[in-house]
Amino acid sequence: NIFERKQEAKNPFFRVVDLDEETEDPAVWGKDFPFQYDGYKRTSEMRPTRFGGSEAVSRVPTTEDPRKSVSRSKIEADPRLKTMWAGYSFAVDFRERRGHAYMLDDQTYTGRQKADPPGTCIHCHASVVVPYRKLGDGDLMKGFSKMNALHYTEARKLVSHPVSCIDCHDPKTMALRVTRPGFLEGIKALKASQGTKDYDPNLMASRQEMRSFVCGQCHVNYYFRKPDKRLVYPWTKGLTVEDAIAHLDKDKFQDWVHADTGANALKARHPEFELWNQGIHARAGVACADCHMPYKREGAMKISDHHVRSPLLNINRACQTCHKSPEEELKARVEAIQAKNERLRGEAMDAVVALIGDLKKAKDQGRKDPAFAWAGDLQRKSQFMVDFVCAENSEGFHAPQEAARILGRAMDLARQGQIVLRDAAFKPTEPLSGPQ
C-alpha cells in the first residue's frame, strides 16, 4: 500500500529507544515522543470551569494519605447525595474527578478504601497491560481474573503508573488499541445483541471509532458481578439507562442495601461513553479525542494534545475547527445547556430524596407489604437514573435531550413510589422487576 509506505518513509519521530510490550514507564516512551509525553504530564494541572475542570483543595499530607491536594468533595457540596447513598461507601467520600495524573493516588487514598475494595478496581486506575500479562503468565485475560480475586491493597503493589501509553497504543505502530477486558467483553456483548457475533474492536473498529473506544475503556458505567466480582459493563440490552437497569434486574444485582429504606440499590458510575452515544455529536461521528485531545501544533508538526482535560479550557482547538462562533459564545452555549441540566437534576434529586424519606418512615413502621416492596424497587430505578446523570461528568452536555429525558423519567418513577406507598391499589407504570 503506497500510502503506508510513504508514511513509514517519513515517520517524523526519531525513535531513540525501542518500545515493546514490556515498556511500562511512560517516561521511556517520552524519549521517542516528547510532545505527547509533555502533554500527558500536564494532566496534573488543575483549573476549574463553571461545571467541570478541577479545583485543587490543599491539605496537609499525612502518612496515611500523602496527597498535598485533593479535588472538591461532591457529597459536602450536595448532602442529598449522602441520603441517596446511605449505607454505601460513596456516602463517605466522593470527589470531583481530576486529571489522569492523579488516578492511581486518588484511588489508593480515597475514603472508600474503608470498604476493602477488590483488586478489580485497578482495571481503570493504573497502567495494567504489563502487570496483567505478568500475573497471567503472558495472558492478559487470565491476569485480569487473577487480579480481581486479590484485595485492593495487594493488587496495588503490582502496578506503578496511572493509565499510560501502552494502555492505548501498540508500541510498534503506535496505532490505537483497546486493552481493557471490561470493554472488550462489554462491547462484544453489545454488538452480539445487535446481531454482530464475536466483535473485536482491535480488528473491526474504524480508526474514528477507536478514538472514542480508548476512552470507553474506563469512562463507562460498570458493576462487579456476583459472586466472582468480575468487572462487567451492563450492555447486553443496549447503552441507554433503561437498558442498564434491564440488564441489572435480569442479573438480580444490587450494589448495596440502602441503609434507610432497605431497597436493593444500584450505583451508577461515570457513563460518559453511554451518554455521549445518545447525543448529536456521536451521531455526527465526533469522537471523545476530537474534543478532549484535539490536534495541536508543535513546531512543524501537528500532534494530538495528550493533555486530556475539559475542552472548555481549550475551546479554540477543541471546538472552533467545527464551530466558527467566538470562544465566549461557545462557552456560553455549553453553560446554558449545563445550567438547565443542573436545575432539573436538583429537582429530580428532590423527588428521590422525598421517596427515600417516605420509605424510611414506612420501614420504621415495620411495613413489609407488596406496595412497600414496589416502592423500594422504584427507589432503586429512579435513584439509578438520577445518579446516571449526576455521575456523568459533562453536566448534560454530551447529550442534553437524553439527560433531561432521564431526569424526567426519574421524577416520574420516584413520585409513583410515593403514591404506591400511600395507596396499595395504585399500579405504577413500571413493573416490580428488581431483586427482592
Binding site: E4, T173, M174, A175, Y295, A300, T321
Partner: protein, 148 residues
C-alpha cells in the same frame, strides 16, 4: 446515476453533431479557458460566486487556487477530471438541474482531501499514523471550510 448515464449518451450524440448545449455553455461561459488555472474561470458561472467570494477571503487565497484543491495532481487525472466536471457543470448550469446548495460529490471530495496532503503532508504525517487498514484521517471532517 442511471439518469446521468442516459444524459451522457444523449450528449455524446449531440456532441457528435457538433452542437451540444454543453458546448454552447462552454463557450458562453468563456470555457475555452476552463482548462486554465485562473479561479476567475470558475467564477464565470455565477453559481460559483459563493465559493469564489469565500475563497477570496480565505486563508488559502494566496496559497491555492480552485484547481489546486479540485483537480488531481497528475496530468491525466487533471484533464480527465476537468473534462468530466467541465462537462457536467455546463450541463447542469444550462439545464438548471442542480440543487440550490450544491453538495460536493464523493469523487470530488476525495480529490480535495488528497490535495490537502499534497501541500500539508509534512505537518500532518505525525497524526496520520499507521493503521492496519490504512485508515487515513479525513481532513475535511474538521477543515471543510478552509477553501471558501
Amino acid at each position: 446515476m442511471t439518469a446521468e448515464k442516459t444524459v451522457l449518451l444523449l450528449f455524446a450524440a449531440l456532441a457528435g453533431a457538433g452542437m451540444g448545449i454543453g458546448t454552447y455553455t462552454f463557450v458562453y461561459a468563456k470555457g475555452t479557458s476552463y482548462i486554465s488555472n485562473d479561479p476567475k474561470v470558475c467564477d464565470n458561472c455565477h453559481i460559483m460566486n459563493k465559493e469564489y467570494d469565500g475563497w477570496v477571503k480565505s486563508t488559502h487565497h494566496a496559497a491555492a487556487v480552485c484547481n489546486d484543491c479540485h483537480t488531481p495532481h497528475n496530468l491525466v487525472g487533471k484533464y480527465e477530471t476537468k473534462g468530466l466536471n467541465g462537462f457536467w457543470h455546463s450541463f447542469y448550469f444550462t439545464t438548471g438541474a442542480y440543487p440550490d446548495n450544491i453538495q460536493i460529490r464523493k469523487r470530488n471530495r476525495s480529490i480535495a482531501a488528497a490535495n490537502c496532503r499534497r501541500c500539508h503532508s509534512d505537518i500532518v504525517h505525525a497524526v496520520d499514523g499507521r493503521y492496519p487498514k490504512a485508515q487515513a484521517l479525513d481532513c475535511l471532517r474538521c477543515h471543510s471550510e478552509v477553501g471558501h
